[in-house]
């Protein structure tokens, strides 16, 4: 029996916190006990990097997966590694990179657990080539109220794909086997190009992305008029040893460093506002080269720039912030421009807007990616018109056949969720079977009436 304590939990955006009992089981047996012992709701939680209320459970129990920690050796022929659900990508990479292995999919931060990566079916800069995280999971141990199941895409595809991006609502994953990618160096060769406007970026991505494994564009949402959506496109591939020269050649497989800087306390709200964001965007745009090819960047610099400052989310102050991320198919690429225009027109400042292309999605009823364009925006909570503007964007995205990423969501309505995820009933049917008493629930699932 694990000793729980009570805690006020929120997501990375620091909005809508709620009070729950937090348990930290250390074995499959202790996780099974969680379902047996708790008569309220429960949900698993990793490192709390989802932006909204996916990993919290008001009045219930939050089961931290950080006690479910182990790492097998990496099979040298297959690249398969078995990891506990509580292992973070940072911890895995610290060990795997020096041995010449990288994770098949990484988001913009290494501070996510394997369990979280599965629950959100995370994606990275290589979705157009490699798909999402779950495409690389060969098996996982899932504990539900009815028992322990080893789930593979072959032996139970419905349950496997319902768990992919299922936001923890199908059970608690305790471990998974992941197929790692062999790398020769811990560097990436990067081509950078600056564009004056959104069309330039989007056309370049359509015409050139297939030549690269990784591609991402940073977009300036604060400029209006013809320069709207100007930005910087960075694309690259894992660097082979031959690409290194001089100083890098000697140490070719270097794990990312631990964070040097931190934001030790929450400063007053309003630091990140229209003026400061505009200034930052101007500086960031000017700093990028107009065009630079074959630059060597470390994995940390290319994939995880924000990991360099621990607790950077505190810069948004006590009011917190939110992320709005949507995907639309290629036929509706104009929605990307329209969304930026709507936000700009409503004077909503967005710090950090990131545009990527997605390849085809997977059968997960709640999995986010679909072939097309995805735009992710960080927005401080301040502006009063924000709630209404985002509701407007929801309708625009839903009408275009697109959807919102639940790992980032903190304010979507149940009605729009149903419009965006038409196969929700498949998830609900599975949950009725494996969780008949509806024990698995989070603030997100209750808010969205899933």
């Amino acid at each position: 029996m694990t000793l729980g304590h009570e805690e006020l939990l929120a997501g990375w955006g620091n909005t809508a916190p709620s009070w729950a009992t937090v348990d930290r089981p250390r074995s499959d047996l202790e996780v099974t006990d969680e379902f047996a012992e708790h008569n309220g709701s429960l949900i698993a939680r990793g490192l709390g990097r989802s932006y909204g209320d996916a990993a919290q459970c008001a009045g219930g129990t939050v089961v931290s997966n950080r006690g479910l920690w182990h790492m097998s050796s990496i099979d040298p022929r297959s690249g398969l590694v078995e990891v506990g659900a509580g292992v973070s990508l940072d911890e895995l990479l610290a060990v795997s990179i020096p041995a010449g292995w990288f994770v098949p999919v990484t988001p913009g931060t290494r501070q996510v657990t394997i369990g979280g990566a599965i629950a959100a079916d995370i994606h990275g800069k290589n979705h157009h080539v490699d798909g999402s995280f779950m495409s690389h999971v060969t098996t996982m141990t899932l504990i539900t109220p009815l028992g322990t199941i080893e789930v593979t895409p072959q032996n139970d595809p419905d349950l496997f794909w319902a768990t992919a991006g299922g936001m923890g609502l199908t059970g608690i994953v305790t471990k998974a086997t992941l197929k790692m990618v062999p790398i020769e160096t811990s560097y990436v060769t990067v081509d950078t190009e600056r564009f004056n406007d959104l069309d330039g970026i989007m056309n370049a991505m359509i015409s050139g992305d297939d030549a690269y494994r990784f591609s991402v564009a940073w977009v300036d949402c604060m400029t209006t008029g013809p320069r709207m959506g100007r930005g910087v496109l960075t694309r690259g591939d894992h660097a082979p040893r031959s690409a290194l020269s001089g100083k890098n050649e000697g140490r070719s497989l270097v794990p990312p460093p631990s964070t040097m800087l931190t934001v030790p306390f929450t400063p007053p709200s309003g630091l990140l506002n229209r003026l400061s964001i505009k200034a930052f965007n101007e500086a960031w745009y000017r700093k990028a080269p107009k065009r630079r090819d074959n630059e060597i960047q470390s994995l940390g610099t290319f994939f995880h720039p924000l990991d360099g400052v621990a607790w950077w989310n505190r810069l948004h102050g006590h009011r917190g912030f939110l992320q709005y991320q949507f995907v639309v198919d290629d036929a509706h690429g104009d929605i990307v421009r329209k969304a930026i225009e709507v936000l700009s027109g409503a004077s909503v400042p967005s710090f950090l807007a990131v545009l990527k292309r997605f390849g085809p999605g997977n059968p997960g009823p709640l999995s986010f990616p679909m072939k097309g364009w995805t735009l992710a925006l960080d927005i401080p909570i301040g502006p009063r018109q924000l709630a209404g503007v985002l509701d407007q964007l929801d309708v625009m995205v839903a009408e275009a056949g697109g959807r919102i990423y639940l790992a980032k969501d903190s304010r979507l309505s149940p009605e729009l969720l149903r419009a965006m995820y038409p196969h929700l009933d498949k998830l609900e049917a599975i949950r009725r079977k494996i969780d008949p008493e509806n024990l698995l629930a989070s603030d997100l699932s209750r808010r969205l009436a899933i």
């Binding site: 809508a16 008001a58 009045g59 709630a387």
Partner: protein, 254 residues
């Protein structure tokens, strides 16, 4: 569940025929509120208010009658309200209150005691009954309708002002007691609002209508400050009025 903007999906109004509270609920229903419980004294008033909210889009609206002159029923009212809402309530608006007529109250001990019971004692008992439910719910938001009349009690409405001063004080302390649980408690201090309750009375400076008050209050509910002034300018106005020498204060009109 409240979302990142604090917009509730379920609302309980104690004092369910309050015009200002109902206008606020209308705005909340337009946003995310689908479940509403209206609790009050006047059954027909509650029923027509419930119908109006259903027309505005609320899916489930229930009414409850109770007498705020009897604080011993507070626990039962809270229990019934939570049951009616389905076990969980995101936002509780406490809008119970009598305005009264001080001229009649001056020499009437029973009426004076009744004013204090309805305006202060009953709400305080309700807040005490709410506390363990909100803590076990793990989330929640309470907003209490006080008044600027409580900031510095005037002779012209001294019983009313006194109850609002007391209610305010209780609410602020109560807010502190729930802070670490992440439960938000706010006190709303409206100035003079044109409603049925104030019909026929002389208007004060900075008077608003119900829509303006509701807009200000809805904005305040999403903000973090414990005190919501309506209109906001009254915060500065009363900072000055509060500190006027008594000789000047007693000559102020109204």
């Amino acid at each position: 569940m409240r979302n990142a903007f604090g917009q509730p999906q379920s609302v309980l109004v104690l004092g369910g025929t309050s015009e200002i509270a109902l206008r606020v609920v209308e705005r909340l229903v337009a946003a995310r509120a689908k479940t509403v419980v209206l609790a009050g004294r006047n059954e027909s008033g509650l029923t027509s208010a419930a119908e109006a909210l259903k027309e505005k889009g609320a899916e489930k609206v229930t009414t409850l009658t109770f007498d705020a002159g009897d604080p011993s029923n507070a626990q039962s009212v809270i229990n019934q309200a939570f049951d009616a809402a389905g076990g969980e309530i995101d936002l509780v608006l406490i809008a119970v209150g009598l305005l009264g007529n001080q001229t009649k109250l001056d020499d009437d001990p029973a009426a004076t005691a009744e004013m204090i019971t309805v305006n202060m004692t009953w709400p305080a008992a309700a807040m005490a009954a709410l506390r363990p439910r909100l803590i076990s719910q793990g989330t929640g938001h309470v907003a209490v309708f006080s008044s600027v009349a409580g900031v510095r009690v005037r002779r012209s409405n001294l019983a009313y002002g006194a109850t609002k001063a007391g209610l305010d004080g209780f609410t602020l302390g109560y807010a502190e007691s729930l802070r670490s649980y992440g439960i938000k408690v706010q006190t709303i201090r409206p100035g003079f609002v044109r409603t049925k309750m104030t019909e026929g009375l002389d208007e004060a400076p900075f008077t608003t209508d119900v829509d303006q008050a509701a807009d200000t209050i809805v904005k305040g509910l999403s903000a973090s400050s414990t005190v919501i002034w309506s209109p906001p300018v009254l915060q500065g106005v009363f900072l000055i009025l509060k500190n006027l020498p008594a000789a000047i204060w007693r000559r102020m009109p109204g």
